[in-house]
Symmetry: C2
Subunit: 198 residues, 2 copies
Amino acid sequence: MNSTNITSVTHGVPAQSRWKKHGHSGGVLWFTGLSGSGKSTLAMALEDALFAKDYEVFTLDGDNLRHGLNANLGFSAEDRSENIRRAGEVAALFASSGIIVLAAFISPYARDRDQVRQIIGNNFHEVYLDPGLDSCEARDPKGLYKKARAGEIPDFTGISAPYEAPINPELRIDTHKQAIDESIDQLIAYTGRAFRLP
Amino acid sequence: MNSTNITSVTHGVPAQSRWKKHGHSGGVLWFTGLSGSGKSTLAMALEDALFAKDYEVFTLDGDNLRHGLNANLGFSAEDRSENIRRAGEVAALFASSGIIVLAAFISPYARDRDQVRQIIGNNFHEVYLDPGLDSCEARDPKGLYKKARAGEIPDFTGISAPYEAPINPELRIDTHKQAIDESIDQLIAYTGRAFRLP
């Protein structure tokens, strides 16, 4: 830590009071997977579905954060780590406000995801979207794989930069085989269990 | 921006739906002032009071963020600016989730606060806590002024680093003359007006 003479301040409202008000605990569903694996699509559809069911829910999207909080970071391994560290810290803040965070980040390094798991604590749930690289590249919704294959994008995950697949995620979804609606139903059921109040 | 090939994603839930659910709009009360001016104390007491009145509210505290998101920043002018930029971006995320953010940051540079105002947009309200330097130093709740006068803390705001007072804040509170309860009543009334739905 670069700061000294810093004293933590206790919140006016305890987490349990927030949970009670919301009817569920705060926490994080962390979507990881290759570009084109469906992270943002599933997260935003799930946000909509959970909000309709009266959850307090908010999506943190990797691309959106790179326009704001993480706009001063690039795609080197070091910058990617800092990108995920900051995202994890923000997700932790949202979780401690009693919100369920849907975090959609490629987050290719296992070490970085494990660091986020440590920051968040108990209510961290890793959701690995795994349609396979071929499927992602065939879909190529933003035309990025084509550019990456042509050498126009350096350090592109799955092509010219590594993706370290989760070994033991809380949930693994094959978004190639399974339709979006089915995945949303699966995620709603999982959310109900994962953030249920004791 | 250091990132390219980034596409913004639209949220599943529009901001207005969140506002309607919460009964108020999202936004930011930004507390600025010297160390010991009462920022954290007022913010945490206000968090408690507003939560009891059924607001969705969360405090972002400078010291707390320096243990997490901003742990890799020090107190140089450059690091202070980045500290406030990140805090502003996080406050903006919370505001767009429909929450009222109570942000407690010394934020000594007018330029940095103005940047946050631009990031947040309409629902940014600057609250200047101004008991005067003498009063802050006399209270010295953490013993920091004493250390700073002894030269043990470099770049200490008000002593060896500048504080640029807000010229035209939305609210200015003399926390030396006014009791905490009175300030909280004033802030509750202000919040009711500032985040009322149209």
